[in-house]
């Protein structure tokens, strides 16, 4: 994975894992690699990898069971909410970019309709 060195690495890896959760590549209740293996898989510092799990836990997307490892939340409602959050974020990004190009909100939405 290529990283943007100006954005926290934990955030970039976290976004990737969130995508895996939303798409079902990492299914609800599924086991995630340990922080050490995550560090190796993503070629990142192990402290950064630990941070990824701390942040995912804070958002209720995974839980660590002592001695067993880290698991994706079993809460399907939480996963659905994450999907909505991520879609909303993508839509916001689109609107922001088009506003930088001088489009009004309405024009941006219309453009989406026309072109796709």
């Amino acid at each position: 994975m290529q990283y943007d060195p100006n954005i926290p690495i934990w955030l970039q890896v976290m976004t990737r894992i969130k995508t895996d959760i939303v798409t079902g590549k990492s299914p609800p209740s599924g086991k995630l690699p340990g922080a050490r293996d995550l560090a190796l898989a993503y070629s990142i510092n192990p402290n950064t990898a630990a941070r990824v799990y701390q942040e995912l836990e804070k958002e209720g997307l995974c839980e660590t069971r002592r001695g067993l490892g880290t698991f994706v939340t079993a809460d399907a409602g939480r996963v659905k909410a994450l999907r909505d959050e991520m879609a909303r974020k993508a839509a916001e990004d689109y609107l922001t970019r088009l506003s930088l190009l001088g489009f009004t909100r309405e024009e941006a939405l219309n453009k989406l309709q026309e072109d796709f």
Partner: protein
């Protein structure tokens, strides 16, 4: 903990390292950065117990470095240091004779990772293969501290991934890893702390994720800010 206190090294009238006070704690991967001749190598050689400080101290777990600390600190210098008649296997044995913490199994694993085989003669190795061999044999020790001076030098893009993997595999909460490199970008994701050395002095230490979070700044950006344009990152 590896700690230097007011550490200074002079060679005649030239000061290579000047009053550097620096603390490296276990559980971190440090990137030591600075242009050529800024004193990184000299600092590492003093930490390895190979060069005596002119003044100041360098302590490992509270004791001045020396014969004892050398058993626990694995250091890779930039110079080649194998005899030309040696095979890759001989290099491992040679290390085994010197260091009690050397692990042949670990060496085997690292060689496989680096795509090197034991019967290769060191005299026939390309510079990239030689660089990989040095890293493999250094990391084959079960040391408390690993100091690698320029581990990415002369190594192609694909092999750098393997090297990053090997370095990360040696991380543990009770170990210190210190890497120096001109290839700043290669260390952005694997290091968590940066130590900037400018003209023999400690310019700054930084937590990299902190730097990105608070200022949206990368290690390479910071490097450019500190060292200006006279030495652009390659």
């Amino acid at each position: 903990m590896l700690e230097s206190i007011d550490l200074t090294k002079k060679y005649g009238t030239k000061t290579a390292v000047e009053n550097v006070s620096l603390r490296l704690t276990p559980g971190h991967i440090y990137a030591m950065l600075g242009p050529n001749g800024s004193g990184k190598t000299t600092w590492m050689k003093m930490a390895a117990g190979l060069v005596k400080p002119t003044s100041g101290q360098i302590l490992f777990d509270g004791t001045p470095v020396g014969i004892e600390s050398r058993k626990k600190i694995a250091y890779m210098s930039t110079e080649p240091y194998f005899y030309t008649w040696m095979t890759v296997r001989d290099v491992g044995k040679y290390y085994g004779d010197f260091f009690e913490d050397y692990s042949p199994e670990q060496y085997g694993r690292l060689l496989a990772e680096m795509e090197l085989t034991e019967d290769l003669k060191t005299s026939t190795l390309s510079s990239g293969m030689m660089a990989k061999l040095k890293i493999a044999v250094t990391l084959a020790r079960d040391a408390h501290v690993y100091m690698l001076d320029e581990p990415f030098n002369g190594i192609d893009l694909l092999a750098r991934d393997a090297i990053r993997g090997c370095i990360l595999s040696r991380f543990s909460p009770d170990r210190i890893l210190l890497l120096s490199s001109h290839l700043v970008e290669e260390m952005e994701a694997i290091a968590d702390q940066a130590v900037f050395i400018k003209a023999g002095r400690l310019a700054e230490t930084a937590d990299l994720e902190d730097l990105r979070t608070r200022e949206g700044v990368s290690m390479a950006d910071r490097y450019r800010t500190i060292f200006g344009h006279e030495e652009a990152t390659k």
